[in-house]
Amino acid sequence: MTTPTPAVQAAIDAVRDDFAGHPVEVVPDGAGGAYVVVDGVHLGGQYTPPTTWLGFQINAAYPRSDVYPHYIGRIARHDGGSLGEAVTDTEWRGRPALQLSRRSNHWNPAVDNAALKAEKVITWFAAK
């Protein structure tokens, strides 16, 4: 069992800071990375339920690696409308989930990080 690398550990700490007040569950992935689940993330009144969990893996190659994809609980639109592009039904670590596929095409390890990426994904989904 390989424990999370110092870079992954620092990213987890930053996620906890960024989502202060939210329960954050961390499970080492056994290869130097970790699975992170942030609870009680508000995604907007157009969804039911409006609040769910957000999960992602910060892998051992972080911060050279992007954080991709992100997963949330299976929520739906109030109006019954489609969730649109880059959102697919899936399962993540035994939970029914939606996969949110947001690539960072110019991921730069000096600027980009797991907490910022999570914020961006939430903002994007909330604006749908």
Binding site: A31, Q57, A61, S65, D66, Y68
Partner: protein, 448 residues
């Protein structure tokens, strides 16, 4: 041409210097025939033949300022210079190695004056830094070291290794002549007996044992490389058979590691094999890469590229990326075929600098199997792949390796990739790009 005899790898402590660090140090030490000094700060890791020191920082001593004539008429590093370098070593957790040069060519050793100054100074310096401290004395073709370990013991340095176009192994004196193995008589006439012995001692990893890697393994084993680390998680499929060297029809379903191992043993019953039937991103495979002298990258995932690139820069192990690109348009038009052999060296441009790794594809490769399949929801069309084209690139790569480790390249330095374009029958050299701010490879270029 007079043959420059290569030194086979020596057991014991070694110091590896990135090519650029060695170039800066050589320029400082060997320009005018006078004595010069410097300090190298080095990281301490484990290696296949003993502990390795990896040169991370070079601090040149200014002539007459930091490297001055002492009371005995012998030159020495000034006390303040030593103190500053030692504090840096302590703060960064790196070994402290004082460096100077002697006259001579292929043989070098410390003088009595050198040794008595070590005995006066190093016990205290070791206490200050709480790190390994020591000295290395160089000529342009030889090196010797006196190492004082944190546990209170003292040992010598077996060799200084500079992985470049030729892999230099500087030792205190030329290696003993090696015995000629009659089986390898014909190739020993090229490599020399010591060159053949070098191949026998090397630990070489092959990442990916498919169309390219299986050919690489065959060539390495026939050359007499003594230890192979074979990494691949896949099993042979029916569609692989036309490209897997010496594969049989009843091999379908067998692990590619087993097929490669069988071929290697047929070529050389004495070969030592480490089989890792896992993907290269797994901790076991990543660890194994750190115990090699050379890595062949014959897998085309972004994770394989990233972790081999990491091994090169974290452990100063040279690698060669091998790939064949056969571009076919949506309408079926065939483009230029490229067979590429790309050296990845600690001081060359890395695969990130050359935009050969995609950060998102890397994240997908690092997902567990089930999630990876779901995350990559666009099914790919298999690319064309042909044994003869793969063999062109594989042979180029193994030729480059074999001439590098036996010091038979015309130039000691150089990291250019070779591009074959079989459809137009031309061949080009391409120098790697280097991003000075790259967080992966810039750490091999720290100068103070």
């Amino acid at each position: 041409m007079v043959r420059r005899e290569v030194n086979p790898p020596a057991d014991g402590w070694s110091l590896t210097l990135p090519a650029g660090l060695w170039a800066d140090l050589s320029r400082h030490l060997f320009t005018d025939g006078a004595g010069h000094g410097a300090v190298i700060l080095a990281e301490h890791v484990r290696g296949p033949r003993g502990p390795r020191l990896l040169g991370r920082r070079l601090i040149l001593a200014g002539d007459g300022v930091d490297y001055v004539e002492g009371t005995t008429g012998h030159h020495a590093l000034r006390a303040e210079f030593v103190r500053d370098a030692a504090v840096l070593a302590r703060d960064e957790g790196l070994a402290y190695l004082a460096v100077h040069n002697h006259y001579g060519t292929t043989t070098v050793g410390f003088s009595i004056v050198d040794l008595s100054s070590h005995e006066r100074g190093y016990p205290a310096l070791r206490q200050i830094t709480r790190q390994l401290v020591g000295a290395v004395v160089f000529t342009s073709q030889a090196a010797a070291g006196d190492l004082w370990l944190p546990d209170g013991t003292r040992t010598t340095l077996a060799e200084v290794v500079v992985p470049d176009n030729n892999v230099l192994r500087l030792q205190p004196r030329p290696a003993e002549p090696a015995a000629r193995d009659p089986e390898y008589d014909r190739q020993s006439r090229l490599f020399g007996d010591r060159g053949q012995e070098t191949l026998r001692q090397l630990h070489v990893a092959v990442v990916g044992l498919g169309g390219v890697g299986s050919v690489v393994v065959e060539l390495l084993a026939r050359l007499g490389v003594g230890h192979l680390v074979l990494i691949d998680a896949d099993h042979a499929a029916r569609t692989n058979l036309p490209r897997l060297i010496a594969a049989r029809h009843d091999d379908v379903g067998r692990p590619k590691t087993s097929l490669a191992a069988r071929n290697a043993r047929q070529a050389n019953p004495d070969v030592m094999l480490t089989l890792i039937q896992q993907e290269v991103q797994t901790p076991r495979a990543r660890d194994a890469l750190a115990y090699c002298d050379w890595i062949f990258l014959a897998a085309d995932t972004d994770a394989a590229r990233h972790w081999v690139n990491e091994a090169v820069h974290q452990h100063l192990i040279p690698a060669t990326q091998i790939g064949v690109k056969i571009p076919v348009d949506a309408d079926g038009t065939l483009g230029q075929i490229h067979a590429v052999t790309r050296p990845i060296t600690p001081d060359g441009g890395c695969l990130w600098c050359n935009e050969l790794i995609d950060a998102t594809e890397l994240a997908i490769d690092m997902l567990p199997d089930a999630e990876r399949e779901r995350a990559r929801y666009v099914a790919g069309v298999p690319a064309p792949s042909v044994i003869a084209l793969n063999t062109l690139a594989a042979a180029e790569a193994v030729n480059h390796f074999m001439l590098a480790v036996t010091n038979l390249h015309h130039d000691d330095t150089g990291q250019a990739a070779v591009l074959h374009r079989p459809r137009s029958r031309d061949r080009d050299l391409q120098n790697p790009r280097r991003n000075p701010l790259c967080p992966t490879c810039s750490r091999c270029r720290q100068r103070t």
